[in-house]
Amino acid sequence: MKQIILIAVIAGIAALLPFVIGDSPYFIGVLISVLMMAALSSAWNILGGYAGQYSFGHAAYFGSGAYTTMILISKFNFNPLVSMVAGIIVACIIALITGSIVFRLRGHYFGLASIAVAEIVRLSALNFDFTGGAQGILLTDVTLWGLDLNSKIPFYYGMLLVLVLTLGITLYLRTSKTGFYLQAIREDQDAAASLGINLSFYKNKALLISAALTSVLGSLYAVYIRFIDTSAVLDLRLSIEIILTAIIGGVGTLWGPVLGAVLLVPLAEILRSNVIGDALVKHGVVSETSGLGVFLKENLAHAHVLVYGIITVVCILYLPKGILGFFRRVK
Amino acid sequence: MLNIKNLNAGYGEMPVLKNISITIAEGEIVSVVGSNGAGKSTLLKAISGLIKSKGIITYNNESLQALPAHAIVQRGIIHVPEGRKIFPEMSVIENLIMGGFLQRTDRKENMEKVFTLFPKLADRRNQLGGTMSGGEQQMLAIGRGLMGNPKLLLLDEPSLGLSPLFTEVVFTAIQTINKSGVTVLLVEQNVYQSLNISNRGYVIEIGSIVLTGTGEELLNNQDVKKAFLGM
């Protein structure tokens, strides 16, 4: 009950945010990224955090949603919502195939196999014609119920809605039979099986829920950006970013992925938009024309992935249970 | 030679050994007998540094607990583990070379000694360890231990899973090894045979020593039988 109220309060605050910060497309854009990563990571968390099945290939489901939606809208003029549902179906089919392969494997092999499946999906999208190949797919125009889809606001609320839905599902699972069973599987598969848990049924269930939610986010993202290619929606980097967000916040906790996204996405944004470099130049700390100034200006934008790497290493070595896990232990 | 006092050890937060005290004098064969899960293997692992322990373990008046496993081997304490744990993809010779990892100068000489003790190993010198029978693997495991010039040999259930014939061979070999000047700490479920060749013995039950005496005393003690058969 406490958690439901917490979700409602946070969602309420988030819903009011656009009114507070005004209609700055830049800030709304950053907030959309935060909400999306929080939702992606929470969706991954259902499978990775609760069931303990570390999928390294979640980009495949994000990409299925994005590609299905874009193809159906741009080539067949489908309604965006219908194409989103179609995306869910495609993602679930890929999830079922993946599940039938990877869930037979344990340990090292599971992670490797999930990457291999995702890479097959990525390379297929890159090589087929109907997916636009390396060019990707561009969407020129899209309409839904007269909403202004050129504004970012509908997508802000869309992402928020999916995040709340994902957290709600996580909370429901956590307090129901399925959630208990998933955690039992994470802790000890043999013990779980001996207590009457059908391992492959419950693992697939978690995967399907997780994949469907991830696919919805992919659809939303695609219509929001209106351009996708394999490096944007199917790359291994995306899968890894999703996991890192959960790890840094705290795997297997309700709020960990959200916390991870709130911390990481703005950090990446600051580095990407070179706020630090600009500030240093502006305040005269570094001269724009000096060697360092030029270097900062040209390269700091690339540094966000480097910082991700450093945070990951520090986190695994010193906070393997994430920030929430750390505080839980201290408490 | 080896002095263990109030030893506590276990895995993670799970204690297995509770205040164990054991002494071994030079030249002895000492057995620790007890049923499954009593803590026998844990005791040997604590001595050889595979697991951390609290209490006192001194070897020739030097504490062993701060030393890493390989430094303990260097001091001549050689642990032949339960289940033999030979290197399956290595030949007999290569397994023996590994046993003499720290004793490279006497390698040839020691290998000859092992082959004299277990002629069967000499016949199979190029066979892969993983393809040998349980009894042969046990000989190899003991032989591998001897390659390290042991002063104190820790043997963990050498008769486990062996036929009576092989058990006999192994126990005879242990006596021969002992006569050549090696002190032996033997951990066994095979109560009669191990106590029979031992100078002294300890009976361990649920992580504590419950009985001690000479081999003969324990053999004739009705309590020992009771401890194992519950009669």
Partner: protein
């Protein structure tokens, strides 16, 4: 003729893949860690060869004499500073740590060398020898393959004939028993990671003359190296060698008879089929269960 051409160039490329696979398998065998930084270590080898060539004017094949010890030392230090702390952690943490290290390496390279691809052109880069009439074999590939065979041979002798080599091998078979032999397994892990790094960097240097050199170049090879390891049986050095050649041939054949766009898909499908049907690898022995 096509077939033979395809087969031979497959074997030549496969040789270098094998080197990358062997390095990864060695690390896996001794430390039981899937090293996701392996591709990035290859990338470092490519840059080392590139800078040795452009700055010091050393032929890439000669520069191996410098690259191998440098990479070994680098790997040894990385193990001592980072990897050894997580050796008994859950798999996913090990994977994530090595992913993090890989990200640091590739993105440091990105900052330092920019994303512009570099090309290492030697006088013989595009020359080829012709045999049996129509079959042409690229000189750099032929040289790489010869060096690969040499290095693999030396490594094999090291592992099977020297005491340190045997100790490494023993550690990979049974870590606890190795400890009981007096083998310092922590040191063995560092040596294994050093060797793995040296092999990855060597593979990188060997392909440098025939590939674009850029900071993200390692990623393609990472997954290939995993496929090779799984094919040969994780931890098996000989298996990885064979696995590398097989992958080389499969790629080359798929390019010839299917399309070069789909060669990686074929490789991954084979990877999954092997995982499902023979998780112990083509050459691996069947385990307990």
């Amino acid at each position: 003729m096509f077939f033979l051409q395809s087969l031979l160039s497959g074997i030549l490329t496969g040789g270098v893949y094998a080197l990358a696979g062997i390095g990864m398998s060695l690390v896996f065998g001794v430390m039981n860690i899937s090293n996701f930084a392996h591709g990035d270590l290859m990338m470092l080898g490519m840059y080392l060869a590139y800078f040795a060539f452009t700055l010091l004017h050393i032929d890439p094949y000669i520069s191996l004499l410098l690259i191998i010890p440098t990479a070994f030392l680098f790997g040894f230090i990385v193990e001592k500073v980072f990897i050894h702390r997580i050796i008994s952690h859950p798999h996913q943490n090990q994977i994530l740590l090595t992913i993090g290290l890989g990200l640091i390496m590739s993105n440091t390279a990105l900052l330092a060398f920019t994303s512009d691809p570099k090309i290492l052109t030697t006088s013989y880069s595009s020359s080829a020898v012709h045999i049996l009439g129509g079959i042409s074999l690229s000189v750099p590939l032929l040289l790489s393959f010869t060096i690969t065979c040499g290095i693999t041979g030396i490594l094999f002798l090291f592992l099977s004939k020297t005491t340190t080599g045997l100790a490494l091998w023993a550690t990979s078979q049974n870590r606890e028993a190795a400890q009981l032999m007096g083998i310092n397994v922590a040191k063995m892990s560092a040596i294994a990671f050093g060797l793995g790094t040296a092999l990855a960097a060597t593979a990188g240097a060997l392909i440098a003359p025939t590939y674009y050199i850029h900071p993200m170049a390692g990623h393609t090879f990472l997954l290939k190296a995993f496929t090779i390891c799984v094919l040969g049986g994780l931890g098996s050095v000989v298996g990885a060698g064979v696995g590398g050649i097989i992958i080389g041939i499969v790629e080359s054949m798929s390019s010839t008879y299917l399309s070069s766009d789909w060669k990686d898909v074929v490789v991954f499908i084979i990877f999954l089929v092997v995982l499902l049907l023979r998780p112990q690898g083509l050459l691996g022995k069947k385990g307990e269960q």
